[in-house]
């Protein structure tokens, strides 16, 4: 029996096991929405297409499955752009489906026509314009395959309206044939032997872990490898939840707002093992002074990440799980040498312990004003271990990374590469849709929250019990901090002059709101919020001019930290 293009698309989604999609209707996707009613697919209507894409992203980051978003052509499609770029920078597996004007009209400046393929070419792993209904099933199959394999990423399918209406026989291809796309999964054996030798020869090793460890679901393998070598582990913002942050080997985050001891460890290491990380400039600071004494082993699924920013002594392209396991196996065969290495690096561990105790992550406590870091600590104490945390972008995001101490993989969603304000609330929508029973908390800033606050409606409509914690400093705090430190305290356009009544805002949407203005109210508000069914907004009026410390000024070496303001 023949099916229409929109039915074929929905059949394909079913074949891919998609149960939840996020989107927003419009003229060129109306057929898909019409047919969707007949399929067991849960559609969540966000209040903005950007939010639909971030929600699909939050769904994907927390489940590891491919997130799906749908938007109409023209403004619907352009509204997805920030969401797609966010996912692309952080390697999140997603398929975005946009409607397009009918093929005969393409190129004619038709109503709501944009060249979304052209616009998204550089922010997708791949994208497709479907030109013939006969290609549709194959393209959807390929899109999902490309999105989730290798280094994951978003794939966009632009589907013209006439193709949704046309009909064809539905056959879902069994296999994907892409002669130009064959990711390398298995690490090169000789390279791994060399890596094992380098590790055994090291006396000051450091593991530097990025988001790839989450993407590869390699947390357990990483832990085993780390414990075997006893090497300290520092993580990027993206790698934060891939390694238990309360583990004695954990050094926390490195780079611009990294811990003193992580940055000192990297600067003094004799071997740096980069695991699914890409030496971003926020991590390396001044490249020439980054890990100056270390040999570098770089393990990554994406060959383009290797030697892009830094010299690498030993590259290994492959799946992190595979490579870490094989490295662990190789090391455990060299029992004696491994013991020598572990014993030989005792001095290194002592050095690190000394840095940890001389410069711990800390802040000036207060009993008169709410310190933002204190709110993060209280959230950590009062939430479950498997609570999912999303953030927006700014100071609150960095404090979350510094003080939350994540303990389980896929519990932290934050826009690392693009730094997208407005990401956290819609990402929480996606995470909560994926895990209705778990605690999902968006740690937000007063500025960022207002970039997608309309998603309160989505939370209430779908009874998604997301808890929002706004650290309200009435500032675009992170920018203000830069102005304070590097621009003569000229606070140009960073005070949020109009005080918003966030509690009332929540209530206007039918959600619950609580506000804390004094330190002693913080834990009470969190407890109440967690105990209240449905979405709750918590507003914490925090110390307005608190700064994120330590800080490596832009362009400085990472051991040249400003420690306190």
């Amino acid at each position: 029996m023949k099916k229409t293009g929109s039915q074929i698309l929905l059949e394909c989604l079913q074949q891919e096991g998609v149960d939840t999609v996020f989107g927003y209707p419009g003229g060129t996707v109306i057929n898909i929405y019409h047919d969707m009613v007949d399929y067991p697919i849960h559609h969540i209507l966000t209040r903005h297409e950007q939010a639909a894409v971030h929600a699909a992203d939050g769904y994907a980051r927390t489940t590891g499955k491919v997130g799906v978003a749908i938007a109409t052509s023209g403004p619907g499609a352009t509204n997805t752009v920030t969401g797609i770029a966010t996912a692309y920078m952080d390697s999140v597996p997603m398929v975005i489906i946009t409607g397009q004007v009918p093929t005969p009209l393409i190129g004619n400046d038709a109503f709501q026509e944009v060249d979304i393929i052209g616009i998204t070419r550089s922010i997708t792993k791949h994208n497709y314009l479907v030109q013939d209904i006969k290609d549709l099933a194959r393209i959807v199959k390929q899109a999902f395959y490309i999105a989730r394999t290798g280094r994951p990423g978003p794939v966009l399918i632009d589907l013209p309206k006439d193709i949704q209406v046309a009909s064809a026989k539905f056959v879902y291809p069994e296999k994907v044939e892409l002669r130009g796309y064959k990711p390398t999964y298995s690490g090169n054996v000789r390279q791994m032997e060399k890596a094992a030798r380098m590790i055994l020869a090291a006396r000051k090793p450091v593991l530097y872990v990025g988001g790839g460890a989450t993407g590869a679901d390699a947390s357990a393998d990483l832990l085993a490898f780390a414990e075997m070598t006893q090497a300290p582990v520092t993580t990027t913002l993206m790698g934060m939840a891939a390694f238990p942050q309360r583990h004695p080997q954990a050094l926390g985050m490195l780079g611009m707002h990294g811990t003193y001891y992580a940055n000192m460890a990297v600067t003094n290491a004799d071997l740096l093992i980069a695991v699914g990380a890409r030496f971003d400039d926020r991590v390396t600071g001044k490249i020439a002074s980054f890990a100056p004494h270390a040999k570098i082993i770089h393990i990554d699924i994406d060959p383009t990440s290797i030697k892009k920013n830094v010299r690498v002594d030993l590259p290994i392209v492959g799946d992190l799980k595979d490579v870490l396991n094989k490295l662990s196996a190789a090391l455990s065969e060299e029992r004696e040498e491994l013991a020598t290495m572990v014993d030989g690096s005792a001095g290194w561990r002592a050095e690190i312990a000394a840095w940890k105790s001389s410069h711990p992550m800390a802040y000036q406590a207060s009993d008169s004003v709410i310190k933002p870091q204190y709110v993060i600590e209280q959230l950590r104490e009062l939430t479950a271990d498997d609570a999912i945390i999303t953030t927006e972008v700014g100071q609150h995001q960095m404090w979350t990374a510094q003080f939350f101490a994540f303990s389980q993989p896929r519990t932290f969603c934050s826009s690392g590469g693009l730094g997208t304000m407005g990401y956290g609330l819609p990402a929480a929508v996606g995470a909560q849709a994926a895990f209705p029973e778990r605690q999902v908390i968006d740690i937000s800033g007063d500025g960022s929250f207002q970039m997608n606050s309309q998603e309160l409606a989505t939370l209430v409509q779908y009874k998604l019990p997301v808890k929002i914690a706004i650290l309200n400093n009435n500032y675009l705090g992170m920018v203000r901090q830069w102005q304070e430190m590097f621009f003569d305290r000229r606070y140009s356009q960073t005070p949020m002059e109009l005080p918003i009544d966030f509690v009332k805002l929540a209530e206007a949407y039918g959600a619950t709101g609580f506000c804390a203005t004094r330190p002693e109210e913080v834990s009470e508000v969190i407890r109440k919020a967690l105990a209240t069914p449905g979405p709750v907004l918590m507003e914490f009026k925090v110390d307005r001019e608190e700064n994120v410390m330590p800080m490596v000024p832009a362009g400085a070496a990472i051991n040249e930290m400003v420690l306190a303001s």
Binding site: R121, S122, R179, G180, D302
Partner: protein
């Protein structure tokens, strides 16, 4: 250093823009680019001349390979290969200069493909360096128009 890279890609919608966009988006330089399908119409062959140090060339190579539509990337630098380019040159040729142009045509085994009382249009093929030499000789006579195809390359032997 100059590199001549041959890229075999799927003959898909928009593939040229993907490759060109990759170069512009990452700040790689393209000195010339020629594209046409070879025997198999499902693929397309691009020949790109670019410049850069080893690190940049390594990135160009890897980034090209990363494109889903890329089947094979060959950097011919340091290999044994044949490289040919064609140029069309419209050169001023009046009175005694006409004979001089024809002498150059003869020496470089070029061809006259169009004649007017005041100009010749020449077709010159060969290695890019040969084209450079011909153009240098013709320049003093007055080149009215010049079109170069950009080189195409092929490895020698089997």
């Amino acid at each position: 250093m100059k590199h001549t890279i041959s890229v075999l890609v799927e003959n898909e919608f928009g593939v040229l823009t993907r490759v060109a966009g990759l170069f512009s988006g990452r700040g790689f330089n393209i000195e010339s680019l020629s594209v046409a399908p070879p025997l198999d119409p499902s693929v397309s062959r691009m020949t790109i001349v670019t410049r850069g140090d080893d690190r940049i060339l390594e990135q160009i190579n890897k980034q090209l390979n990363k494109l889903i539509d890329t089947i094979k990337v060959t950097d011919f630098t340091g290999q044994d290969y044949v490289e040919r380019e064609m140029a069309l040159v419209k050169v001023t040729a009046e009175e005694e200069a006409r004979a001089e142009v024809l002498r150059i045509v003869d020496i470089f085994r070029a061809k006259v493909v169009d004649v007017t009382p005041r100009s010749y249009t020449l077709e010159v093929t060969g290695a890019p360096t040969k084209l450079d030499a011909v153009i240098d000789l013709l320049r003093p006579m007055g080149i009215k128009e010049l079109v170069r195809s950009g080189p195409v390359v092929m490895g020698r032997g089997q």
